[in-house]
């Protein structure tokens, strides 16, 4: 069930992407998305593709894992691509009339559809790469670091990060627990698979009630354990594992920025 969700599924490794400083990686990821949304030309996309493929190769993450991340949005991609292809007005390439409706495919539509498809796929590829090469807890640490300047305007960055950390920490626990309870109720004759929507929703009670009870129990236990260790929120806390910027990170950032500049040059100076 939850185990199949790739976003948030870390694949251990020693690649340069794995070794990069997480906050820096997140900033570069934002840059990656920004570039992705600026470019429109074929030349820029070609260059972008080269960079994205290089990133995947460096990361050592299998293409299968990346494709698994794309699978959930496949229908959205196909749907929006079709909408674009048929609904955009412009130079007509093909037309037919079905049940009195006139269907038209325009050149602009095909371009827009292709652009959008590429954008969505690269967007998911990029974010998957970030989460596949960064342990979830380092990600939340990174978020805390990035939000820190907002402390001045009273944004509780530590607490936000802590909440995310706890949530992430408990995903596998609850997924395991849900699995176990599901099995236990199946053994008692519960049927989660067959029947209509309403019947299936009602069949979830034997799963959800115990799951909620266990969530509350765990929340209680965790709160007590944290209190017993004198946890008291963000003020003046130091970290056990500091995330330092190393020479390697600077090199990586420079390479990344150079690649981005190249792609943008291709976008604005090469006319096709």
């Amino acid at each position: 069930m939850l185990r199949d969700v790739v976003i948030g599924q870390y694949v251990p490794g020693k690649s340069p992407l794995h070794r990069m400083n997480p906050p820096l990686k997140m900033i570069l990821m934002i840059a990656y998305i920004a570039v992705l949304f600026v470019i429109k030309s074929a030349a820029a996309y070609a260059l972008f593709t080269v960079c994205a493929v290089t990133l995947i190769m460096i990361s050592g993450v299998s293409v299968g894992m990346i494709l698994k991340g794309i699978k959930p949005i496949l229908y959205i991609v196909i749907f929006t691509a079709l909408l674009n292809i048929f609904m955009t007005t412009g130079e007509v390439m093909w037309s037919a009339s079905v049940f009195g409706l006139t269907l038209r495919i325009t050149k602009e539509g095909v371009t827009a559809g292709a652009l959008l498809t590429a954008r969505l796929i690269y967007l998911v590829t990029g974010t998957s790469l970030l989460t596949l090469t960064t342990p979830p807890l380092q990600l939340t640490d990174g978020i805390e670091r990035l939000l820190k300047p907002l402390n001045k305007i009273k944004v509780p960055s530590h607490e936000i990060a802590m909440m995310m950390t706890i949530a992430i920490r408990f995903i596998p626990t609850f997924s395991e627990e849900a699995d176990k309870i599901k099995k236990a109720q199946t053994a008692r004759g519960a049927d989660f698979e067959s029947g209509g929507l309403i019947k299936r929703a009602r069949a979830m009670t034997p799963l959800l009630v115990p799951l909620f009870i266990s969530a509350f129990r765990r929340a209680d236990e965790l709160a007590e354990a944290m209190e017993a260790r004198c946890y008291r929120g963000g003020g003046n806390r130091t970290k056990m594992k500091e995330q330092h910027i190393t020479a390697f990170d600077i090199k990586a950032a420079v390479i990344f920025v150079l690649a981005a500049v190249l792609i943008l040059l291709a976008e604005f100076w090469i006319e096709i």
Partner: protein, 286 residues
């Protein structure tokens, strides 16, 4: 009869997280057997017993329940699950209804029985699990840990399974609750001559007291399989895989080595006490 032929199991097969839990398991458990599965944590006990009611299917080999192969895609797994009742570790965590009665009735209700029959089954299950009448109308969450566990076991027994499998039924109970649970199992065995009962345990003492057959698991394999006597005769082998023969068996061994004439088959405190008493009685010539 429950039969496993060359059963192997791999969790999350085909992903980077794949993990082998069982290797080439061969077992045949005859009707009416009270068997215990024992082994170190992570040795594959829970994985093995989940095969016996088709909650998981072997990745290699076959599991045959009363002549039906669970790996056959045509098999109706619901019938298998009715025939083999499985009680999970900490079954009290699966209670969800407003009253204990309704919770026990959940299983029989899914079998499509009528009200009178369900009522009969609920009372039978409660009685077999050692739950008192007055608990039936209470909320399951008001019961003590041991009572909750009995309520959960009653829910499985109410389906009148032909075989009952319990995963660590005594985990987390105090000594009194533990003894009560073991006597529930023993009584079930005595009252239902054809029922296969398999329970998982960490403790040799528990197993020695009641099990007719002991299956020792180690790292996904069956290490030793036999009667309690046969298994505990392998004290050295047990120690090597991190288990110990029951304390009383070790004590008897020591006494024998010191020249006292004790009978074989001493595993429980009661047996040891009786033997020692007899020995003392004999020596004083009374």
């Amino acid at each position: 009869m429950i039969k496993a032929e060359h059963v192997g199991y791999i969790y999350q097969k085909g992903t980077p997280f794949e993990h082998r839990a069982l290797y080439d398991i061969n077992l045949e458990i005859a009707d009416g057997t009270l068997a215990a599965v024992i082994g170190h944590t992570g040795s594959g006990k829970s994985t093995l017993i989940q095969h016996f009611n088709a909650l998981i299917k072997p990745t290699e080999g076959r599991v045959i329940i009363d002549g039906t192969d669970i790996t056959n895609p045509k098999t109706d797994l619901r019938l298998i699950r009715r025939a083999v009742g499985l009680v999970f570790q900490y079954p009290e965590h699966q209670l969800f209804e407003e009253t204990v009665y309704k919770d026990i009735a959940f299983g029989p209700a899914t079998m499509g029985l009528d009200k009178a029959e369900i009522d009969e089954r609920v009372r039978l299950g409660a009685r077999l699990a050692g739950l008192r009448e007055e608990h039936l109308q209470r909320s399951p969450f008001e019961l003590s840990g041991g009572q909750k566990r009995r309520a959960a076991i009653a829910g499985v027994l109410a389906m009148e399974p032909k075989a009952l499998i319990l995963d660590e039924p005594t985990a987390g109970l105090d000594p009194k609750g533990r003894d009560a649970m073991l006597s529930v199992i023993k009584k079930l065995h005595e009252e239902n001559k054809d029922m296969i009962i398999i329970f998982v345990s960490h403790s040799m003492e528990e197993v020695a007291g009641i099990a007719e057959r002991v299956i020792v698991m180690n790292e996904g394999r069956v290490e030793i399989d036999g009667t309690a006597e046969e298994v505990f005769a392998n004290a050295e082998r047990l120690r090597r895989i991190g288990l110990n023969a029951p304390q009383m068996a070790l004590l008897a061994d020591k006494l024998r080595a010191a020249g006292y004439d004790l009978p074989e088959n001493i595993y429980t405190v009661e047996q040891a006490a009786a033997a020692v008493k007899k020995l003392i009685g004999g020596n004083t010539g009374a």
